[in-house]
Symmetry: C2
Subunit: 300 residues, 2 copies
């Protein structure tokens, strides 16, 4: 079908309780595209400055990621700086330099407009809508968002929600969006806002998928040390949508397996800083971890 991924490419400066890393490669589209690249050849839409390393561009190409939709602009790449506490689910944004991302208004390349799956990673909902105007009858549109847009662009966000098939968001965002504490009730509320499916990412507790009349749950991979949680959610989306693109099916079974592959990719992402762990995964490692997820919940 082909999968278009729209989002940010960035330098991240990351502080964890044990380490600080300056300007590692990050961004929602970066993580998502790399994760998806193990299942399909995604189309990337984003913008970088002239300072973006050529070796990362080469890595993208090597991983089969289509870069026709990647703009290289005069100026500097988006830069985020954040700090994680002992609880990796909580982070503080210390600095945000939008740079070339500030006036990002992509015009999708012609072949991207016919794609079967569109993923709108966490960006301004107005921008998400702009992109939806450019695509022609996609089979599946998925989106992510963050608390910032829920708090400050609620109306635009609700407008986009009406037009998408899947919302992927984390537990706190889902609760904030629906004003519900109970996750099942919150999920059902989302299904009334437009999406046919909601994926609730719960960090160390795994993820829930809710559709009309059914629920599916994935556990998180048992992990004793989260090195860097950045990008885990985007990698979930990459594995999830990449798998759906590969199997060209949207059956309940495919969606469940996709959610497990999403969790698989997220579980790799947190094992090292930035995209380190995602650069060179082997088929075998992914398969093996998929089986570990199976074993984790099997009691037959």
């Amino acid at each position: 079908m082909s999968l278009v991924i729209v989002g940010s490419l960035a330098f991240d400066t990351i502080e964890t309780p044990s380490e600080r890393r300056e300007r590692v490669i990050g961004g929602s589209a970066t993580y998502c595209a790399l994760a998806a690249s193990y299942f399909t050849s995604p189309y990337l839409v984003g913008v970088v400055g002239e300072d973006f390393p050529q070796e990362v561009i080469k890595l993208f190409q090597h991983r089969g990621i289509d870069l026709t939709g990647l703009e290289v602009k005069e100026g500097r790449t988006f830069h985020w700086e954040g700090r994680y506490g002992h609880d990796p689910n909580h982070r503080l944004t210390l600095k945000l330099e939008l740079n070339v991302f500030g006036d990002f208004h992509p015009s999708l390349p012609r072949k991207y407009r016919q794609a079967g799956i569109i993923f709108l990673a966490n960006i301004d909902p107005d921008l998400q809508e702009e992109i939806l105007h450019q695509v022609v009858n996609p089979r599946l549109v998925a989106m992510d968002t963050i608390d910032h847009w829920i708090k400050n662009k609620r109306e635009a966000l609700f407008r986009v929600l009406k037009k998408v098939d899947i919302l992927l968001a984390n537990e706190e965002e889902i609760k904030l969006l629906t004003d519900e504490i109970n996750l099942i009730r919150a999920g059902r509320k989302i299904l009334q806002l437009g999406p046919e499916l909601v994926v609730i990412k719960k960090g160390e507790h795994g993820a829930l998928v809710l559709g009309e009349g059914w629920v599916f749950g994935v556990l998180a991979h048992p992990c004793e040390e989260v090195i860097d949680p950045t990008g885990a959610g985007d990698c979930f989306a990459g594995g999830f949508l990449g798998y759906l693109d590969r199997v060209r099916q949207l059956s309940q079974r495919a969606i469940k397996r996709a959610a497990v592959y999403g969790s698989v990719m997220a579980s790799f992402a947190i094992e090292d800083f930035g995209i380190e762990r995602l650069k060179n995964l082997k088929e075998e490692e992914i398969k093996e971890r998929f089986l570990e997820f199976k074993k984790l919940v099997s009691f037959a």
Copy 2:
């Protein structure tokens, strides 16, 4: 093998955001024994006052619960009063009247001392130890505890931990006990304190079972409204240990299935106030819910 359950029997006055119920029947041993009674005929050890309703005694008998170890003492039954917020995982104790439970020092009936499985529900660790001195080579000893004992009787608690095979406790208690935020690391630490197995109850996120070299996870039953969370953990223990007693096996497979039955019983408990839902469950309902738990995580 036979299963001995030692804990409290109580009147609970419960406030939830939508309702207040006065003096419903509660207590860790009550919940645990009722849940276990769907799998085996547990032996109950506890104390009640003269005000404890005869109809509940009859219910216990009807459910095949052995009451040789139940003392009826002059005075009033233990009374707890608590309030739940919108988040059912957080509760506030408003009142605690120990009454006859205040000087509870049970002497186990002879036939109880030979039992295969001993469950020490949440009581003073000194009392838990007292009971362990009375039993003869049990095949399995499991215990629960709460934050109060972790904070105020740490030494005694660590002494008991050395002597038990399984610790069942909730997420917050496990973190408090180990001073760890990461649950997998916390669980592994528990395994170094004595138990061979730790069961971490996570409310709406389900439960994790950790043994030497393996992890198993159960999701919570998707529940849109928790009517009364009281007793869910004790019902988990009842289903878990009741099942193990029934199958007379401690294999990994049996333990995994036991954890699912624990979750099944906990999921019933929260559907109504007090023990209402646990009085008259049908075989069929339990079987059906077990299958729902399977469906919830199956992706083959």
